[in-house]
């Protein structure tokens, strides 16, 4: 059976499952559409939250980011998990007690202000739409690679599929579909990792394999990796090379941003009780951790396997320089050997490329941008190297190419394709639900047409979802070419606007309408301006006013880390403005006191 047929079977079977679930769980009321009638158990909700949260970025990109940077990119691992502690402790139980459907609704009620609610909607739309574009692009790329169709055809197939189950099913359909998608994506992520951990370290569990012994050379896996990459002139894998301050601020921005993402927060509206909201965050993190503790092992082992493919000497010996005990891989092998077919497949996509610069028939992969060590300097002189001959290795291919690099059977590749799609589609559906809720519930029912019937509100929510899918697909067809920056922008915005205003709304009775409005505006605008100064105004290339390098950053703070500073500005402005203006009305103080106490949460409803 050809690889193409296998991919088709796995992808087709997983889609049939999702659509079947969506039809079975069709939503009938607005309560079911937005919050699944609050009938979802904490474990199921945790699993759905995990699928919702783990996007194409977690599934496809993160292990690659760790693979090529090592310890310094631990920030993603800690940042994208630590946010759940903040959610469980500071937001989830209280927002569940509040008992409404959307994040802007809480902001509007707590700060007794339509203006605050609409600012909340605007933040939510900007954050969620940038995210959806990224997911749709991921769907298009995965389809085109595995179904052998063009990227735009792949994108339209994905859009049609999301439309069917998100628009029909609402939160109820999405929740159960996401449970199925979680199972698909975690199986797809774990199986190749287990195979590779067994091959390299003899450990079944990749989590143990990362800290285990590399069997062929008999030294520890991480020590072996450090030796191999430093031989080739790269920075050590386990060493700390970046600024400590920026590492702390970036991790904090990811944590606060996670806790401020509206599509994650609304998951906690769907559990039956306040105590379930607390444990639900724990279950979500358990299911996320199953992938997040495997990811560093995948990163390290994929980096090692890639290097050992280029230099077969990397597998043996333990002392510095042993990587060069055998010659580099030959150009002829790369172009003809069946086990290196993956290199030729990925070369077509432009994400991997090689070039025999010195014409010796060998492809030497090394870092030509740093001062070479003793062994590498000798190799450069002896073999007359003219520069790195594997100049293009995209981070994003590491997870998808991993099973092929390790020569795993074809069905594993089929599962990984289905898993990558599950990750992108589940996140897209969750984001679309947050968008449609904000538009139909907060903008239309809450502001433009308060007397709208439940039936028409549901229709408006579905139309909003359909329009968002269309917008995201059209933008995904011509991605503005700033995926990485917009992700940073979405996190920065969530961290600097939504998280602080929610937290202050719960933990302070003194923060008033003016404080919340000015705090949100100051937080968002300062973060936006800082990002635009370095990345270009509205990301238009060439309009940046300062060069985006560490030397130019204010106190060495990178634009991606600035969300933390934006959040601090938000807190400070809200505090100062609130104390300079009148106290909030008595009924708002009573609202805050009631959400702090679990009793009475059962009476929650949307109207």
């Amino acid at each position: 059976m050809s690889q193409f047929t296998l991919n088709l079977i796995f992808i087709g079977a997983s889609f049939a499952l999702y659509i079947g679930i969506a039809i079975w769980a069709r939503a009938g009321s607005t309560a079911e559409f937005y919050a699944a009638n609050r009938g979802v158990s904490p474990v199921m909700n945790g699993m759905a939250t995990a699928a919702d949260w783990m996007s194409a970025a977690s599934f496809i990109s993160m292990a690659g980011l760790i693979a090529f940077t090592g310890y310094d990119n631990s920030t993603y691992l800690m940042g994208w998990t630590g946010g759940y502690v903040l959610l469980a402790l500071l937001l989830a139980p209280y927002l569940r007690k509040f008992g409404k459907f959307t994040v802007p609704e809480f902001i509007g009620d707590r700060f007794y202000s339509q203006t605050a609610r609409i600012i909340g909607v605007v933040c939510l739309l900007i954050i969620s739409i940038t995210y959806v574009i990224g997911q749709m692009t991921g769907v298009g790329v995965t389809f085109s690679r595995y179904l052998e169709v063009s990227t735009s055809t792949g994108l339209w197939i994905g859009a049609a599929l999301v439309f069917v189950y998100a628009v029909l099913g609402g939160m109820k359909g999405i929740t159960y579909t996401q449970v199925a998608q979680y199972v698909v994506l975690i199986v797809a992520y774990t199986i190749p990792a287990v195979f590779i951990a067994l091959q390299l370290t003899g450990n079944v569990l990749p989590q143990l394999g990362l800290f285990g012994t590399h069997e062929e050379s008999g030294v520890k896996m991480l020590a072996k990796l450090d030796q191999v990459v430093t031989d080739l002139g790269f920075k050590s894998y386990t060493g700390h090379h970046n600024s400590t301050l920026d590492m702390v601020l970036f991790t904090l921005a990811l944590m606060i941003g996670t806790a401020g993402l509206p599509h994650v927060i609304i998951r906690f509206f769907t559990v039956p009780k306040v105590s379930d909201a607390r444990s639900s965050a724990g279950w979500a993190l358990v299911f996320i951790a199953l992938l997040y503790t495997v990811a560093p092992a995948v990163g390290a082992m994929a980096r090692f396997n890639l290097t050992a493919t280029m230099w077969s000497g990397a597998s043996t010996g333990a002392e510095a320089g042993s990587t060069f005990s055998a010659p580099a891989v030959s150009l002829e092998r790369i172009e003809t050997a069946p086990e290196l077919a993956w290199m030729r497949n990925w070369q077509v996509t432009g994400l991997l490329n090689w070039e025999d610069k010195n014409g010796d028939g060998l492809i030497q992969y090394y870092n030509d941008k740093a001062e070479p060590g003793e062994a590498l300097a000798t190799v450069i002189a002896d073999q007359n190297l003219q520069g790195n001959e594997l100049p293009v290795v995209n981070n994003d291919i590491m997870v998808l190419a991993n099973p092929e690099i390790a020569n795993l059977p074809g069905w594993v590749i089929g599962i990984v394709a289905a898993g990558g799609l599950a990750a992108a589609l589940s996140t897209a559906a969750g984001l679309l639900l947050a968008i449609s809720g904000a538009v139909s519930h907060d903008l239309i029912k809450g502001w433009l047409a308060p007397n709208i019937s439940e039936k028409n509100e549901l229709m408006a929510a579905r139309i909003a979802m359909g329009v968002s899918i269309l917008v995201a697909t059209l933008l995904g067809l011509n991605p503005p070419g700033f995926a990485a920056q917009t992700v940073a922008l979405a996190f920065g915005l969530a961290a600097s606007s939504i998280f602080p205003v929610l937290m202050m709304g719960i933990f302070s009775t003194r923060i008033n309408r003016q404080g919340a409005i000015w705090g949100m505006l100051a937080g968002i605008i300062s973060t936006l301006v800082y990002i635009f100064l370095y990345k270009g105004w509205f990301f238009i290339a060439g309009t940046n006013m300062l060069e985006d390098t560490a030397a130019n950053w204010l106190f060495g703070i990178s634009p991606a880390s600035f969300g933390t500073i934006g959040a601090l500005i938000n807190f400070a402005v809200a505090y100062l403005v609130s104390n300079a203006t009148e106290e909030p009305p008595v009924e708002v103080v009573e609202l805050v006191e009631s959400i702090r106490i679990p009793r009475g949460a059962g009476a929650a409803n949307g109207h």
């Binding site: 502690v85 520890k220 702390v248 991790t251 009780k273 607390r278 503790t293 009793r599």
Partner: protein
């Protein structure tokens, strides 16, 4: 009035528990994982050091334990103050 006093006591106890959790949360990630890593670099863990383990695995495991401990502790606190659902 007694209701108000009881709910104030409940809230103060909750804030104390939140602080304990946040201190541990910060210590394992920002502390052991990043800032204090040089101090504990003498303790080897599987080819690297304890700080590397905290940054890539340990902090995540402790985050999970922390949330479940908080959830269980708060359930008890809810009952002690008679504010459970």
């Amino acid at each position: 009035m007694s209701d108000r006093q009881s709910s104030n006591a409940y809230w103060r106890a909750n804030i104390r528990i939140i602080w304990i959790c946040l201190i541990i949360w910060a210590l394992v990630s920002y502390g052991f994982g990043i800032i204090l890593r040089p101090l504990i670099s003498g303790i080897p863990v599987g080819g690297s050091d304890l700080g590397f383990w905290f940054a890539q695995q340990g902090s995540i495991l402790i985050f999970i334990a922390l949330i479940f401990w908080y959830a269980a502790r708060m359930n008890r606190l809810d009952r002690e103050h008679g504010v459970e659902e």
